[in-house]
Every structure is written in structure tokens, then in C-alpha cells.
Subunit: 317 residues, 2 copies
């Protein structure tokens, strides 16, 4: 595979221990956590998406990587394609709103012109201050319980509504367009988690990455997946709805492995979002899903693999 070759080549250049072999959500340098993600028109967002939401999302998905490592945002470098006036004003509105919401100052970056008609491309490098521990994806072990902070499937359900009609509105569309990075929750969990990552491509694919990195397998109680009221109202909560929620992607929930004997109730956690135990890590490899009706066969696609990535099993969002 071509992409695999590219990534193996790049991994050969990732000789710094803080690069974590390009297999984590972010790099660690001194006591900083650093991540970079780019988004391109026609690939990661649609020309019909409101530009303010693209700007918000560019910041939010990078902050979600910091959240997954328990880091507090410190600053960002922005790479901005210049476009039409109204579009640029609107995308900066969205960037500004996110920067202000999460106290993220801009440190630098560049603006570039592209040839006429080229798809717009935006990049952001987000830098956060690490806590005492920066959980990786690889520290989980058999017996750890699996917890999800937030709900699954809302964003994918919102995108499906938009695919039906560009004019769709409502809570699910809002969540698709303006995801919320779970920074406080990530900071609270980081000191306890044996492994943590954000669920950006779908629970099943992201959990399989955490399992691969940690050298174990996982069992998931499908009935326990956290679903929002808006999601249930739109798509129900049967097995098929839960498979949709577990594979849709763009969630920006947090997936944490916590020691089985940890009393989660005793932790000092933010009131929101909800933290839900969905299963546990087990010896071996691969995912096993079950619900009240028995085993749930693994779907053909475990999640969103559209996005090319620096890591063969990781879209870095």
C-alpha cells in the first residue's frame, strides 16, 4: 500500500521519544502536548458547510486531541488559505469563537494564497500544557474497564440529516458542525487512565486502535453505549442504531481505559458530559460485541477511514 509506505518512511524520521512513534493523538515535548491537523474542502468539509462552523471545527478537533492527552490549551498556529472576503470573515468568526471559548491564543502561522479554483485547505497546530501524566494509547491492560465521556453517533446522525437536505437543522446538525472538545473531562481523567484517546472516527475503529497499541482485546456491552435523547429520537436505539453510533465517527467523545478497581464515583469529575462504562479490555486481540440478544457481529466497516493519515491506523484528529 502506498499510504502505508509513506507512513513507514515518516515513522523512520520520528526518532524523538515524544513522537510516540506517530501512533498517538499528539506529540509530547517538555511539558507540552502538540498536535497538528489539516482539513480540506471536498474531503473533510463540504463547500455547503457554513464557513464559521468549519473554523470552529478546525479548532475543536485539534483541542479534542489535547483533551485526549489531558492537556490544557496554551496556544495555536494557524495556516489559513485566503479566499473570498465573506467566506474568510465567516471562517475567522468561527476560529475566533472557538479560540475565545477555550482561551486559546493564536501564536502564529501563515496565510497563503492558492491558485484560483483550488479547494481550500486549513491547518492548525494546537499546543497544550501537559498534566502530571499524558496517557498514551498503549498503556491499557487486560481487566481495565472502558469508559466513554460524552455520547456517540450525534454528529454522524447530523451529517446524515444534511445529506438528506442541506437545510436540515437541529441539535444533531449543531453537534456535527460545532463539536465540543471535552477538555475538563480529559484533564480530570488523564491522571487515572491507563490509556486514553478521542473517538474521532467511530468507537469501534478507535477502540481497535487502542487495543492494538495496548496489545489486548476488548469486550463491549452494546446496550450500554451512551446515546443522546436527540439521537434516540432520530434513529432509535436498537442494535442497528447502536451500530450506526459506534461506527459513524466525528464524535469527539473520549475513550478511556481505567483500572477496574478505581472508584470512578469518587473522582473529582466535571458534571458534564456523562461518563459511561461500556466494557473492558481482555487478553488476546480484537473486539467482541454483545447486547441483550447475544453476540453482535462486527460490521464490515469499523468506522470512518476516509481520511488519509500519518499513521496507518490513526487519522490524528
Amino acid at each position: 500500500m502506498h499510504e502505508t509506505e509513506v507512513i513507514e518512511r515518516l515513522r523512520g524520521l520520528a526518532t524523538h521519544p515524544g513522537a510516540r512513534d506517530l501512533r498517538d493523538d499528539a506529540a509530547v515535548l517538555d511539558n507540552l502536548v502538540i498536535t497538528h491537523d489539516s482539513v480540506a474542502e471536498g474531503v473533510h468539509f463540504l463547500t455547503t458547510d457554513p464557513p464559521a462552523s468549519i473554523g470552529w471545527k478546525l479548532v475543536a478537533v485539534n483541542l479534542s486531541d489535547l483533551a485526549a492527552k489531558g492537556a490544557r490549551p496554551v496556544g495555536a498556529l494557524l495556516s489559513l488559505t485566503l479566499s473570498e472576503n465573506d467566506w474568510d470573515r465567516a471562517i475567522i468568526d468561527g476560529i475566533e469563537a472557538a479560540c475565545e471559548s477555550y482561551s486559546l491564543p493564536l501564536l502564529g502561522g501563515d496565510t497563503i494564497a492558492l491558485p484560483p479554483g483550488a479547494p481550500r485547505v486549513y491547518g492548525l497546530t494546537a499546543i497544550g500544557r501537559a498534566g502530571e501524566q499524558v496517557p498514551s494509547r498503549s498503556g491499557g491492560s487486560s481487566g481495565d474497564k472502558l469508559w466513554i465521556a460524552g455520547t456517540l453517533g450525534d454528529s454522524a446522525a447530523g451529517l446524515a440529516l444534511l445529506a438528506e437536505s442541506e437545510r436540515s437543522t437541529g441539535a444533531l446538525v449543531d453537534i456535527y458542525r460545532r463539536p465540543i472538545p471535552l477538555l475538563e473531562m480529559g484533564i480530570s481523567l488523564a491522571g487515572h487512565a491507563t490509556a486514553m484517546m478521542d473517538v474521532s472516527d467511530g468507537l469501534l475503529i478507535d477502540l481497535s486502535r487502542l487495543c492494538d497499541a495496548s496489545g489486548c482485546g476488548a469486550e463491549v456491552d452494546f446496550d450500554s453505549l451512551p446515546l443522546s435523547r436527540a439521537f434516540i429520537a432520530e434513529r432509535g436505539q436498537d442494535r442497528s442504531a447502536r451500530l450506526f453510533a459506534a461506527t459513524g465517527g466525528d464524535d469527539y467523545a473520549l475513550l478511556a481505559a481505567l483500572p477496574a478497581d478505581l472508584d470512578v464515583v469518587s473522582l473529582s469529575l466535571p458534571q458534564a458530559p456523562t461518563l459511561t462504562c461500556v466494557g473492558r479490555l481482555v487478553a488476546g486481540s480484537g473486539l467482541k460485541l454483545h447486547d441483550r440478544d447475544g453476540d453482535v457481529p462486527l460490521p464490515e466497516s469499523l468506522g470512518y477511514e476516509h481520511r488519509a493519515s500519518i499513521s496507518p491506523v490513526d487519522d490524528r484528529l
Copy 2:
């Protein structure tokens, strides 16, 4: 102006002191120096450029920003557009060569797919370790002498040769394609310079930026501009050749303001490149050029302003 408005908006988000109001080559965070530059096909490089040289240059121009702040490279995050196999292999060859030459490990980043036919876009965030002092552009004052490390005009002369024929070769073409960031020289000068920056868009435009930031003017002895043998052999060294060298851009020389009473000969400097005094900062504003024949009128264009930028007077390269 639209771009001015964009940049003013972004400057409003640059509330961190280390952002240096988005007016410097790089940001400062803790004891790190951080810069990000993107390059796009058809704007910053040509489809006919060898991809290995594009990869090298992507790394080198970012390292030149670190050199201008006296920082030692620590790591980089890469944003890579996936393209055809051969092209991607070659650009990674160039990135790899530069990373190895300058001991720059890859820390992270992402690879993205673009829609078919879209111009390729590459970005790099380079991070360096600051020395005891990180010279800005704004610390110069009247009386400081102006020094240039390296030579001027080679790259622009190489580009002109390529414009005549894509098959041009030789030292000037090599310098255009594979610029050398003056890291050791930057580190040596940083502790002494009142102001420093890299000359990426042409001496005259970059010096005018340093003057604007420092609140003073400058006098330049045009006869003293450092020109390479290869440049002189190609374009001569008369006033017109010197104007070409002072405005061509893409030099990645360093421009430093040093106190007039500093004994430069006594400094512990690398043997190469040459360090040349070309003038001094003066009270007032604006540039005055002179050579053996008298005053040299300022050319209409002071340098390369093609590249859009996060700062109205700074292409951040």
C-alpha cells in the same frame, strides 16, 4: 484591503506575549521557538520543480525562521498532501535529507488526501530550543550596524535561469532549490543582536520591516552587499545586479543589527558563511541606499510580496 482585515482580525486573537503580535519570524513559548509555514503548488513552487527539492525547501525555510531567532531545532510536525507514489517518495526523500542534515526529528502531523487535480499543499511546524536571548525584529536602534550572514541574490538568479529553461543547472539553481538555513550562525549571533530576521523576501523589503518594527530608518552601502562568485559570474556586480540581489528574495540569509561598539571579529562565529557589514540603522524611517556613484533610488518593488501572509509586512518564511 481584504488581507489586511484578515490579519488584523487574527492579530486580535494573538493575545499571548509569545505571539509577538504576529510581527516576528516565529513565536516564543516557554524556552521554545515555534514557526509554521505552508507552501502550495503553483504559488510557492512549480509543478516542474523536483519534488525532493520541494521537500528539502519546506524544511529549510522553516529552519531559517528558527535560525533567525537563534534557536536549535528540536522537532517538527508535518502536514503532507498525498499524491502520486513517485512524487510522494521523492518529496519524502527531500524532507528526510533535510531532517537528517539538521537533526530534526518528526514529532507528528497528518497526511491528507485532496480532491483529484487539486494543487498540492504542504505545511511544517518547526520547533526549536531558544538560547538565552531570542532577538525580535523590533529591538534595533539608531547607530546599530547592519550585518548580513550569507550572500544575496543567488536563489533569485537561479530562479531566473529556470525561467529561461527548466533544464538549467548549476550552483545558482542548486541554491534556489536547496537553501541552507544558517542555524549555527543564528545561534552565535542571537546573544548579541539587538534585532534579527531572515532575509526571505529580499533585503530591501525585509530590512524595511525590521526598521518599521524597530522604529528607525537605515542606510545601506550598496557596494558592500555580499555577492557570491557564481552570482557575479552570471549577473555581474553593477548597480543593477545589486538591485536584483537586494530585491530577489528567497535568500535565507540572516540580517542582524549589532551594537556599533561590538567587536565582531572577537565573536566566536562559525567559519561560514561570511558576515558582512552593509550599513547601519539611523534615526527616522525609511531606507537610504548609496554606492560609489551616489544615491541609489529605491526601486518600485522592494522585494517579493507575492506570498500572502499572516502579517501585512511579513511572509513568515
